[in-house]
Amino acid sequence: MEKIPILRMGQFLLVTIQIDLYDRLALNLEADLVQMVSKTGARGVLIDISVVSIVDSFMGRIIGNIANMSKIMDAETVVVGMQPAVAITLIELGLPLTGVHTALDVEKGMELLRKKILVDGEELDETYNTDSTE
């Protein structure tokens, strides 16, 4: 049984999908990832789909699900490296993945995650204060 590795990098979980996802694999990934988020207490999940060239509505829904589940468990999800054809397909399927953050590549995705966590964590109070004083 193939499995998609989930790597832990500090506060983040890194998932690189190197093969075209079939339904079973996607469902397993969803279950594994949520388990992993709860086990490690990760604050961010980064999914790299730069080599995924085929996507269907089920795949799109799984990605959306992962993002929503992680969100409930207090982890942000960033999908990086989506190919143009995949993006167009998802839009045409009516799946704009509104709950998911996106970035061009892994580097920018990591930066985005760090920023998100900073905003959510330490700097939250500060921004709140400045807003309220204005």
Binding site: V80, G81, P84, I91, T102, L104, G109
Partner: protein, 295 residues
């Protein structure tokens, strides 16, 4: 029946025998015509062209195919006609002049027939009808080729317009701009979207500005396409700004009940660029030494 068949052979053979006469008569008619365009084509050229056509026609003309305009025997003739039509169109002949050129052959053929069947009105009528039909179909082929040539040009131009009208410009490191000029339809939006997304991948840009100040009108379908493009850009991990929405377009969009609240919109390309700079935390300012010099 036998007599009828015999008569048919007579027409084709008789015309073949009188080839020289036909060409001469045709040329005479053409040269006598006041609408002759000797500025576009010399008389020698005209003669060569006419001879070639009559030659090809008479060579293949038989008792059977005279009344069968779809016969494969005429393939060569149609080819020559097509060539004449296209070259004449290029030389600047009007379709009317080209049409008259083909139909003037009919006059020549008919007067030859008239001479031949002077004493037999029934045969003359029969022969005239057949020849007339044949030449009519040649005329139609000429026009078809003419129109086909025109249509090819139009198609090529359409392709060119779609190609040149969607340039993706890299205005800054990490900022792409895509000025859209002209009406957006589904096919064009598809090209625009694909070009933009591909360019985002190629350059690794994180901001794309879609400038629609050159779009004359927006309907619900076009707005839908724009929203799709913006969503697709977002999925790729870049941000898309729409700029240059004209007052009329703003009115239509609101009247149509299209929700653009999730899309960043700016009045001009300049302000979109400014917004992009602020996202990338860039600053554009006047050089300090310039100020010192002028002061």
């Amino acid at each position: 029946m036998h007599k009828f068949l015999f008569m048919k052979i007579e027409i084709a053979r008789m015309l073949q025998k009188k080839k020289k006469q036909i060409i001469d008569l045709w040329m005479k008619n053409q040269l006598a015509d006041s609408a002759l365009r000797d500025d576009l084509m010399s008389n020698d050229e005209l003669r060569a062209q006419s001879e070639e056509l009559v030659d090809a026609l008479l060579k293949k003309l038989t008792d059977d195919n005279l009344s069968n305009i779809e016969s494969a025997d005429f393939e060569n003739v149609y080819e020559i006609l097509g060539g004449i039509s296209i070259t004449r169109a290029r030389q600047g002949f009007s379709p009317r002049e080209t049409g008259l050129y083909i139909y003037s052959l009919k006059d020549a053929l008919l007067s030859i027939l008239q001479q031949e069947f002077k004493n037999d009105p029934v045969q003359l009528y029969e022969a005239s009808m057949r020849v007339s039909k044949l030449i009519d179909s040649f005329g139609i082929v000429t026009f078809e080729t003419f129109i086909k040539g025109r249509e090819e040009i139009i198609l090529r131009q359409t392709d060119e317009i779609t190609e040149i009208s969607t340039p993706v410009i890299r205005v800054w490191d990490g900022i792409l701009a895509l000025p859209i000029i002209g009406t957006l339809d589904s096919a064009r939006t598809q090209v625009v979207m694909e070009n933009l997304l591909q360019e985002i991948v190629n350059t690794g840009s994180s901001i794309a500005i879609l400038d629609i100040s050159g779009v004359p009108a927006v309907d619900s379908l076009v707005a839908q396409h724009l929203i799709k493009t913006v969503s697709a850009t977002r999925l790729m991990g870049a941000e898309c700004i729409i700029s240059g929405i004209r007052p009329e377009i703003a009115q239509t969009v609101v009247h149509l009940g299209i929700d653009l609240s999730n899309v960043v919109t700016k009045a001009t390309l300049a302000s979109a660029l400014k917004y992009a700079y602020s996202i990338l935390q860039l600053e554009v300012r006047k050089k300090q030494n310039n100020l010192v010099k002028t002061n």
